[in-house]
């Protein structure tokens, strides 16, 4: 991760790490931590406390207003036994492919291509590709609803090239609704992955490419030997962001299909919303939220482990 750097322990660190035995409280330099107190207090009040409270509320049968009743892990048992939740989770995993894997793969192909050529106006190109990511998701959803509509541009284009048989209302069809919503995610996330990878690409010393070329590497070999390993950090960041977005996806689904047709595009976040605000089962809503959070942790953890720096001591890029 590159976003958060650890607190800089200040000049007294040498003393702190000296081999002399000191009592616990004096072993560290506590001054440094004092600077963290405001941020930590904020973090505690607005992040840790709500999380702890959610876990706590999940243990109650509560309508959000009147007295609650302790039910232990019953809410979790109910949630895990609910086939609708499992179906929704499965949809989320499909979204991981569309929201994370596909944009990463596409962006890598593009980056691999521009690593060898000089792109005029790269900055403008990059800004343009990033636009979908910063657009309001409601705007994105409405635009794509139009693109996918019965008389929308996609079907018009298909008819123009004689593929009338393929036309359909993409978001209203039981088989195509889920991948169609997924494609919207790919479009949104591609810009993020691309921008991250391009900035990573610019950090690779030109000598590495030269060396690879002198050694006779073709574009494919160069991509796998130089570009891909050098982008490991960026790929990791991109995957974590995009997988999280995929698993907690709600707004795009809500504004395109509302989970339909039937239950073909339901997602866990929808059930959190429904239990909390419609059926007033705040305990169950919290239980779903906790399960979803654990799932996100597990998947993101697995991805970080898979993309970990296996040879942290080697120089970046590791071609020598």
């Amino acid at each position: 991760m590159t976003t958060l750097s650890p607190p800089r322990p200040g000049p007294a660190r040498a003393a702190g790490s000296a081999p002399r035995r000191r009592p616990f409280l004096r072993r560290y330099d506590w001054d440094a931590y004092l600077y963290l107190v405001p941020a930590f207090a904020f973090y505690l009040v607005f992040l840790v406390r709500p999380v702890v409270e959610s876990i706590w509320i999940a243990l109650f049968d509560w309508d959000g207003i009147t007295a609650s009743e302790w039910v232990g892990f019953d809410n979790f048992a109910e949630v895990l036994a609910d086939p609708q939740i499992w179906q929704a989770t499965l949809h989320s995993l499909v979204f991981v492919v569309f929201y994370a894997l596909l944009p990463t793969a596409l962006a890598l192909v593009f980056v691999g291509a521009i690593a060898r050529i000089r792109v005029r106006g790269l900055a403008a190109f990059r800004a343009l590709l990033f636009v979908p990511y910063i657009l309001s998701t409601v705007v994105v959803a409405i635009s794509w609803r139009w693109i996918f509509a019965e008389t929308g541009p996609l079907n018009t284009a298909l008819r123009a090239i004689g593929l009338d048989g393929l036309t359909r209302t993409w978001l209203g069809d039981f088989t195509t609704a889920l991948p169609s919503v997924g494609i919207i995610g790919t479009w949104v996330m591609f810009g993020l992955a691309f921008v991250l990878f391009v900035s990573g690409l610019q950090n690779i010393p030109a000598e590495q490419f030269e060396a690879a070329r002198l050694d006779g590497a073709g574009p494919v070999r160069e991509f796998f030997a130089v570009t891909l390993p050098a982008l490991r950090g960026e790929i990791q960041v991109a995957l974590v962001l995009m997988i999280t977005a995929a698993l907690r996806n709600f707004d795009i689904v809500w504004n395109t299909t509302s989970g339909g047709p039937g239950t073909s595009t339901t997602v866990p976040s929808y059930f959190i919303y429904r239990e909390a605000f419609v059926t007033h089962q705040v305990g169950r809503a919290s239980a779903i939220a906790v399960v979803l959070t654990l799932l996100i942790f597990a998947i993101v953890g697995a991805v970080m482990w898979l993309t970990r720096d296996r040879d942290a001591a080697a120089p970046r890029g590791g071609t020598r």
Binding site: L25, W30, D31, Y33, L34, V37, F40, A41, L44, V45, V48, R49, V52, E53, W56, I57, F60, W62, D63, G64, I65, T66, A67, S68, W70, R145, F148, A149, E150, R168, T169, W170, L171, G172, D173, F174, A177, T256, T257, S258, G259, G260, P261, G262, T263, R274, F277, V278, T279, H280, V282
Partner: protein
């Protein structure tokens, strides 16, 4: 250089904050709210003199954003009649309002007046938590009960919020919303047909339209609710309205899984199979469908009378209530009910506000902005579409009445019903299987 004492203080502060954060965990929720200062029942409309005794007050009001045009006229009239009251009104989108009104009414500075929504999710929860005042006396004092007629049951709850459709009136709503049949007059005339009033005539018109190369029925169901509303025209024609209402309000032993409802589902699926329904309806928004119909596509559009904003040309289009087979029953209800907070410290001013919203005088204001009032109005004006809306509303209320909305039946019924209906229409689920699921949702909810 900080002293060690300071360092220790900092560490102690951090630990204390952590402990406080975690110690917030006592069992969530409080007890049922009991009204702090119960106000005597009123017997006549609240007078300015009574309200003046409250001194200078600010009346906090939460309303749906659809009420804005109406409120722009009503609030000044109210403030003129009750000069010591300042109305502080906040408008919310429907989703926002229904999702947050319960917590707002439960908060320390709850609004004095707020709109809810019929059914268990909002009104039922408000009554259960004791957050709103019963309005039986207000309904009588403002001649509301007579105007509402039998349909007043949609505003009634038992005191503990466990029974819907009986008990005290907890809200009042001034306008009527209903699903009806919009038809394209010119196209019907070209087919040699008039506006159909029976199910057989409607299906014959569909067949004739199809044969003439027209789209018989324009539907946009991306919101999932629209197909359910369309279905109500069929279901209302085949099943007695009283049975459906009893089922929706949760009367003991009510059953939706009856043959006539199965027939209604099968016939709707048949409409789709025969190509009577516009292609791609599940991926089309209802607003887009209404706009397409208004611009001349298709022969019929089944939808709420609120689409008259988009389908506004009364010379080109007609609006009729449900079919005569079922004595004009179709989905419908009053608009979002207005409630008085049981925590209000200006209860009389709040009652005066809700009373005025629902008074015969305000009916004229509503008619002026083409909303269909429950209280009788003098004249429809010269707008043909609005005249049709008034006519349809009166026909339905005099006939079998509104069916209410299937989604009210339980707090998960909207999802069960709408999702299932999409499956049935696509031929992926049988009518019987859906009816069984719908009824088991109902049974689960009422045995909890």
């Amino acid at each position: 250089m900080p002293t060690r004492r300071m360092r220790l203080t900092g560490a102690a502060a951090a630990v204390t904050a952590l402990a406080l954060g975690l110690a917030a965990c006592s069992a969530p929720g409080g007890s049922r709210t009991e009204p702090s200062a119960p106000v005597e029942k009123i017997t006549a409309p609240v007078t300015p003199e009574q309200v003046a005794e409250l001194g200078e007050v600010t009346l906090s009001v939460w309303a749906d954003q659809g009420e804005q045009d109406f409120m722009d006229q009503l609030v000044p009239a109210y403030e003129a009649e009750f000069p010591n009251v300042t109305v502080d009104i906040q408008f919310k989108s429907f989703n926002d309002l229904t999702a947050t009104v319960l917590n707002a009414m439960n908060s320390a500075d709850a609004p004095d007046v707020a709109q809810g929504n019929q059914g268990w999710a909002t009104d039922g929860a408000l009554v259960k938590a004791g957050l709103i005042r019963p309005l039986d006396d207000v309904a009588d004092a403002y001649d509301y009960r007579d105007a509402a007629g039998d349909a007043i049951t949609q505003l009634q709850w038992s005191e503990d919020g466990s029974a819907f459709g009986e008990g005290a009136v907890y809200g009042m709503s001034p306008d009527n919303q209903m699903v009806g049949l919009f038809s394209n007059r010119e196209k019907l005339a070209a087919l040699g047909l008039g506006t159909p009033t029976t199910l057989d005539e409607l299906e014959a018109a569909f067949a004739a339209a199809k044969a003439a190369g027209q789209t018989p029925l324009v539907l946009g169901n991306a919101d999932k609710a629209s197909a359910m509303q369309t279905f109500s025209i069929l279901q209302g024609a085949l099943t007695p309205a009283a049975d459906t209402r009893e089922w929706i309000t949760g009367a003991k032993g009510a059953d939706f899984a009856v043959d006539s409802n199965g027939e209604a589902l099968d016939r709707f699926a048949e409409w789709v199979a025969k190509g009577y329904v516009s292609a791609g309806y599940d991926g089309t928004s209802p607003d887009d469908a209404a706009a397409a119909f208004a611009s001349g596509e298709g022969v019929f559009f089944i939808g709420g009378n609120w689409y008259a904003g988009a389908i506004s040309d009364g010379a080109a289009f007609d609006f009729t209530p449900g079919l005569s087979d079922g004595d004009y029953a179709s989905s419908g209800s009053f608009g979002m009910p207005w409630h008085v907070s049981s925590k209000s410290d200006a209860t009389l001013a709040a009652i005066a506000f809700v009373g005025m919203v629902n008074s015969p005088e305000s009916a004229e204001l509503l008619a002026g902005i083409h909303r269909v009032p429950i209280q009788p109005v003098e004249a429809a004006g010269d707008d043909a579409m609005f005249a049709a809306l008034l006519d349809a509303s009166a026909t339905q209320l005099d006939g079998a009445g509104p069916l209410y909305w299937y989604g009210w039946a339980t707090d998960t019924m909207f999802d069960t019903f709408t999702g299932g209906l999409q499956e049935v229409l696509a031929g992926r689920e049988s009518a019987d299987a859906l009816l069984e699921r719908v009824q088991s949702d109902w049974v689960d909810f009422h045995t909890d």
